[in-house]
Symmetry: C2
Subunit: 403 residues, 2 copies
């Protein structure tokens, strides 16, 4: 018998309780023995919940109960969640989480603590919701030197971009619709400014390349600046605008990681990823390119990933987990300034000015373009070369084109 | 130090040697210690290979060497491969394979033998080449009751269909091109008649549903009957023809598994899977739908999956593996005859005959259709209902439409 405590009974936490209850027989068979929910920690009570009798308000009840061997942390954030995770690991309990902020900021410390205590710190649910990506990256692709990870990592922004592309909604209108549908929060900053995608690419890159990459090391641009004009120009050349998190291994071993809108060719599998779906492509030196696709968020998909980790922790109670990465540092990352790519540029100016800056370029066209608006795709160049070319032009948008 | 022997030095076997050698440092770090290739078993010698010194011709050398703890079986087929796998497991060695025929026909017996001996029998490479699917299905989706698996499981047929759709080649011309490009074998029977896809859906279904499903229990139809006329009619309604392997859990717990061409809607992620790529979608009761995509064959992608299993076997030498399913039986599977779906039908006859059989139906159109050819999409019905309706018509093609 393995006893579990859930910290935080919000959307994901209550989903974990529901999956444990609904699929109990199946889960017990997979785990090789019964897994039982013993406590739910929350500041609130839930008198109408079937789990009301399990609610406690004091973490030390869980911390000091030797029967609890697995703690599910679905509080979110990096304050109480950090304190409770440290204390649970220190007390010799495995911790399973969906908390991307905590893993992105403190993963290295918490993995080290777990290893010292001979327990697990698992976070499959922190990236891609229910999509299996952490374990495949760590185990199935273990024979590969990973070369690049590239993904649509945030469902909210992908929904907004899809509605702009498909229905011609403005960014503001698409955001309001996403909020009305429950796909965006009242304060959508973390999604639309790219911070959520940034945390996720940090976790994937740390795992793939072996050293912690912190969000502050990853230049992050959201989708606030994407306009319907950009969507139309992208469409005119068979491309779609997608917010991508990327981590690319350089020849010197450093990792170039960033989050930004990109133009993606219509034939690329990522272009077909719509609405709130996520997809992550991984390139390895043996495997070539593989892609993982599914719902990147949602109560039950995310809970499903958490429970898979609970089963894993239950089966391997006495084994140190192999998920591990070393401390980071300024020597881990390379600036994206040195990364060459083609660029999509929209600017205002004169035809002569554009032709002088980009000799021989082919201009893009869209219906109802205002006088003096120009858009084009450049050849491959770094950001600084691009900026030098653009000097003197009034640049409205500049996004990389995915190779 | 873990010593490995490779049985069969063909495309995949030599790829395994190459990946072990090329990514040695990385693999040793992942495995927690050195993994070394000690023997290669083949009937041939390879005097020009850098691995020439490791070649042996007698399996008993490997069987009787206590230093060899992992055997990689890349012989293929179910004769020598079966004999050597049994003997290796009986000798207490873990076996890793890419041999889908052996797993589909004898997986249950070999998994049981491995469990008795406390070693592993692993076969990530048997389905989807390098795409991680076996381990995610077994571990990451462990919290789910799996409801359906559906996949493009054979790269050769997907290449042929892609060339028919994209370039308007006939089946025969597309097959010849595939052979010229090395995507189809001189004898393409196992691919084009669906047997390869059948073996793969058997492996996935056995794993997902817990009991062995044998190829003889899975009705299998290949792509030989697919014509350019069908491709054109599918295109006229925004669909593409794909060869799918499917396994669907019925309400009574039985599994309906079959392989057949389907019309897939253009908006379905499977429709965008082209050329030799494979993709597998899995539906679970918590996770919803996830998809795994990548190269389904090829030397290095397949070798990459084999080596990931070798690393796993090396790390868990003393642990019984959890991949397991029970013996099958006639009570495991349900006939696909009871499965309702919409159908695409192409027939010859009179407009009156078609309208009598399918009142109110909308006919599909294509350029250059001969007089008396009709095509349509039906409502949802079983095969026997369809056949009853079609009595008296000269049916040329009848394929299911994927929901």
């Amino acid at each position: 018998m393995v006893n579990v405590a859930i910290l935080g009974f919000g959307v994901v936490g209550s989903g974990v309780a529901e999956v444990l209850f609904t699929n109990e027989t199946h889960i017990d068979r997979k785990a090789g023995g019964p897994i039982r929910l013993k406590y739910i920690l929350d500041v609130r009570d839930f008198p109408d919940s079937p789990f009301a009798g399990k609610v406690v308000h004091d973490f030390s009840v869980i911390e000091n109960d030797p029967e609890v061997s697995i703690v599910v942390e679905t509080i979110g954030g990096a304050r109480a969640a950090l304190d409770f995770t440290r204390r649970a690991l220190a007390a010799g309990k495995s911790v399973v989480t969906s908390n991307k902020e905590l893993v992105a900021e403190h993963g290295c410390e918490l993995l080290k603590l777990a290893a010292e205590k001979g327990v697990s710190y698992l976070f499959e649910a922190s990236v891609g919701g229910g999509i299996p990506i952490i374990r495949p990256l760590n185990q199935c692709l273990a024979a590969n030197e990973i070369e690049e990870i590239c993904g649509i990592l945030n469902g909210t922004t992908n929904y907004i971009l899809t509605r702009m592309i498909r229905a011609g909604l403005s960014f503001d209108a698409a955001l309001k619709e996403a909020q009305a549908n429950g796909y965006a929060e009242a304060d959508p900053t973390a999604d639309i400014e790219g911070h959520d995608a940034c945390r996720k690419i940090c976790i994937l890159a740390s795992l793939a390349f072996g050293r912690h990459i912190y969000p502050r090391q990853v230049p992050t641009e959201g989708i606030v600046a994407v306009t319907l004009a950009d969507v139309a120009y992208a469409d005119s050349c068979g491309k779609k605008i997608k917010l991508l998190g990327r981590a690319i291994r350089q020849d010197d071993g450093k990792v170039c990681a960033y989050v930004a809108p990109h133009l993606v060719d219509g034939g690329d599998p990522l272009a077909g990823v719509e609405d709130v779906f996520n997809a992550i492509t991984v390139k390895g030196n043996a495997i070539g390119e593989v892609m993982f696709y599914g719902r990147g968020a949602g109560k039950l998909p995310t809970a499903s990933a958490v429970v898979a980790d609970v089963i894993d922790a239950a089966r391997h109670r006495d084994e140190k987990k192999r998920v591990f990465w070393a401390e980071g540092g300024e020597d881990v990352t390379a600036s994206s300034a040195g990364l060459e790519s083609a660029w999509y540029v929209r600017a205002e100016g004169t035809a002569e000015g554009i032709r002088a800056a980009f000799p021989g370029c082919t201009l893009l066209a869209r219906a109802d373009a205002p006088e003096g608006e120009f858009a084009l795709l450049t050849g491959s160049m770094t950001r600084s070369t691009l900026d030098a070319r653009l000097a003197g032009l009034a640049v409205r948008s500049a996004f990389r084109v995915l190779d």
